[in-house]
Structure formats: C-alpha cells, structure tokens
Assembly symmetry: C2
DNA sequence: CGTTTTTTTGAGAGCCATCAAGCATTGTGG
DNA sequence: CCACAATGCTTGATGGCTCTCAAAAAAACG
C-alpha cells in the first residue's frame, strides 16, 4: 500500500506530513511485511533495522541469563520499531510480535539526513522521544512504588489510552491480546499473581479482562485507585 | 567562565564542538548559577527551563500524592537538565540538587533552531537520547526482576561508570553523596532495607559505602552478582 | 555541647513468589 | 463429531523477601 493512502497516518493524532516529508518517507520505505504472532521482529543485538508498525501489537523485551524476561514496552500501530537499534551500535533488547503484525521496513541510514532535509520532522521526532521518556518515567515510578493491582490498573489505563488514540477502542472496552505471561513480564509479577491482581480489579468493579477483551468498568475509580492521570500527548511522529 | 575555557567539555567522553557549534552554544548561554544541596532546580510542572549541570550531583524525581517519591535518575556533570520540560508542555517531574551544584542556564527556545543550524549536533543529541533510553531500559529491567541487593549493586556500578567518564573516580572508589533515602527512593526500597542490602554487599566483600565514599571491593564479582555489564557509550552530547 | 538528622538494628506483618493441582479452552487427528 | 493432548487460566498452601514500626547508636550541625 502506498504511504499516502495509508489510513493510519491520517489520524489527527499523528503529525500530518507535508508533500516534501511524505516523499522523503516514501523513499525510505523498503518493503511491507506481515508476521505471525510470536515471530521475532528484532533479535537481541541485531542492529540497523527500522520498522513502522502498521497493524497489530508487538513488544520490546530484554532477556536475562536466568531465563526470566522483562517487557520494556508494548508497541502499537504507529509506533516506530528499532530506533535505538538504528542509532546505537549494540542493542540490548529484542522485539516480538504479540499478534499478527504488519510492518513497513525502512532504510535506517536515511535517518542521518533528516536534520538537514526535514527540520520540522526532526523536531517532531524529538518531541515524540520526550513523550516516550515521560511515559517511561511513569512506568519507573509506579513499578517502584505501587502494589501489584495498582500497577496492573496503571498499565491497563495507559494501554487503553494509547489504543484509543489510534482508534482501537470502543466506549469503555477494547480488544486486548496480551496474555497473563506478557502482563507478568511487563509488571515484574508472577503469572499467578497477575491473575490475583486482575481478580481484585474485577471484584472491586474496576476492570475485567476475559476472552482477549478488556472492559474498564469504572474508569474514574480505576484512575484514582491506580494513581493514573491521562496526559494530552499532542501530535506524534510517524514514518 | 567562558564555554571555550570549560574543562568539563574537553573530556574525550564528550563530543568536541566545532567553532560554529561553540558559538551557537555561547549564544544560548544565559547565566551561571550556584545552588546549595537540596535546592530546587526545576519544580514539578515548571516548564521552559534548560540547564547544563557543570559540577555536583542532582536528581530527577516524581512525587506521589501519598508523600512517597521515586527518583527517576541521578544527574552528573555534563548532563542536560530539563530537556523534557523544554519541549513538552507540562512536566511531571522535578529536579533537585543533591550536593552543591553549578549550573549554566540556557535559552530553551533556541533548541528549535538546532536541526537547521547544527545538524551534526542534532544527530549527537539524538544518539545521546537513545543512550538515555537504553540506560532506562536497564533500570526498568532490573527494577522488575531483581532482589534488593542486586538492584543496589547495579545502581552502584552504573553510577560508578558514569562518574568515571567525567573523571570523578579514582581506582576503585569515588565520592558518593547520595544518602540512604535517595537510594531508597531510586530503588523502590525502604530506607531500612537499603541498609540491609548494603550490609549484604559489604559482608560479601563486594562493595562498601561509608562517609560518602563508595568503594568497589571486587568489581568483577559485583558485576556478576548484579547482572551488570558495562556498555561503551561513545561520545555524548553536551551544551 | 545539646539538638537534630541520619544510620543501624530488631521484631512482626504483609505482599508476592513458587510450587502444585484442578479447570477451561483450543487445537488435532481419528 | 468426539477423544485426546496441549496450552493457558484459576486457585490454594507455603515460604521468602521486604515493609513498617520502633528504638538505639552514630553522625552532623549550630
């Protein structure tokens, strides 16, 4: 599919590319791929690859020698995959498809030309990186200081809001493909306790999760419980 | 002190600015300040301020309604303070001086001109941001998955390496101003348990901390214990 | 030298991990 | 369409790590 026909980038959430920017992006575009759930998008240590995620969920993770794994981030449509790997020599993370995904492979080397050729887009990239940092700040803060159920609630709200921005929610529910083990690896919990935490949220009438569907039963109260507050992100970068 | 006389930026660890870049940075520079320990450098929510830290330690933190606090990051000489605040509308973090600090106030608005005027410097900024992200990835991973003593060891090693790059270490020891409560807030532990963790490290002959001095007694073994491995960072951005 | 702050140490409680077993769901081949 | 296996979810019991509270020791400060 051609870039200028892509529905995703039409969303107001994203920076609307000028003709010049769009032609630059088109020239970066290499190929479009589809992968099945659990497929590796980026192996740990692999470098120089860059993708835009157009459909589906993925996650960025880091493996430990003892076999455990930390999910650093979930990736949703519109997110860039592998920027760190494109810029730094040795990456220390991998990226896997969580659902079936459709990707757009990009020529990472052309990033170098961006500041000169597309200063506006460069500024927006910087802003998006600051947004990412802010989100990570929130993660760090609630990982260190909150109970399992609160962390759970926070993660659910954050994902819901991100999904909403790319039009993947209805009123108060959405498709939610992550399994227990993904949530466990993201929150630093055991799979068993993820379950207990979700049971807490359900019994308190805050949120339920079943059949790959997340329902926010009482968003206001869940926000209070989890210490979450939505942030207006402003426009975001997309390639 | 004039920028071109500054000793800190001469370190090979930092990108050596060209004449053009240096004159740009000079024109951004507003004033030089000195603050005492515990002084606020950036209040939570304050925006549009930008500093370079030239001497001393500071930390970036986020407060919770319940009074607890998470330290997101320690800031060392050469680090930029307030980039998020300069670019995004509402910041959700504050920055405080940990020791006496000396700062250089910069005109944040001039950042906008950087892509056009100094594309090389912009690329280096991007790389530094990716390095920061990689470091944060490590933090997230060990916060979620490691015991108190391991997290402690990891943090100590990371800080030691960062200090080394700016010449603030001797062989296997360094000045180490953070107090128990700072470490506690950084690691998501109670002050009491920080102490127990440090006692563990001391009793195992890995590291000791006393009188504001950190000594790495057996770096190799500490790295293994904490699951830390040093990363070659490459040159870093400085303003 | 007294006061305040920080560090150290102890006892008890709570949260969450681990282990293990039963249940539900999905997929497969007959 | 059903039997069966495989996978993931749920739930309980036990134990370990870390918190909280509290008080004493040490250090920093004026």
């Amino acid at each position: 599919m051609a870039c200028d026909l892509c529905q995703l980038r039409r969303r107001t959430f994203f920076h609307q590319l000028s003709d010049e920017e769009l032609s630059f992006v088109r020239s970066m575009k290499r190929e479009q791929t589809t992968l099945s759930p659990d497929a590796d998008i980026l192996h740990t240590g692999e470098t120089g690859k860059l993708f835009t995620l157009f459909a589906g969920w993925a996650y960025r993770y880091r493996d430990f020698p003892d076999g455990s794994r930390q999910i650093l981030d979930f990736l949703l449509p519109g997110d860039l995959i592998g920027l760190q790997a494109a810029i730094l020599p040795k990456t220390q993370y991998g990226v896997k498809a969580l659902t079936a995904v459709s990707l757009c492979a990009l020529d990472a080397d052309m990033l170098d030309q961006m500041p000169e050729r597309l200063p506006d887009l460069t500024r927006i990239l910087l802003r998006s990186l600051m947004q990412d940092q802010r989100r990570t700040d929130g993660q760090l803060a609630f990982l260190g200081r909150r109970t399992a159920a609160q962390r759970m609630g926070y993660l659910l709200l954050e994902l819901f809001d991100r999904l909403q921005r790319v039009g993947m929610t209805s009123d108060s529910w959405c498709q939610f493909p992550p399994q227990r083990r993904h949530l466990a690896d993201a929150l630093g919990l055991s799979g068993a306790h993820v379950n207990r935490s979700m049971a807490d949220l359900r019994d308190s009438g805050l949120a339920t999760l079943g059949n790959n569907v997340l329902v926010l039963l009482d968003r206001k109260r869940l926000e209070t419980f989890a210490g979450y507050s939505a942030v207006d992100e402003g426009n975001r970068f997309i390639l």
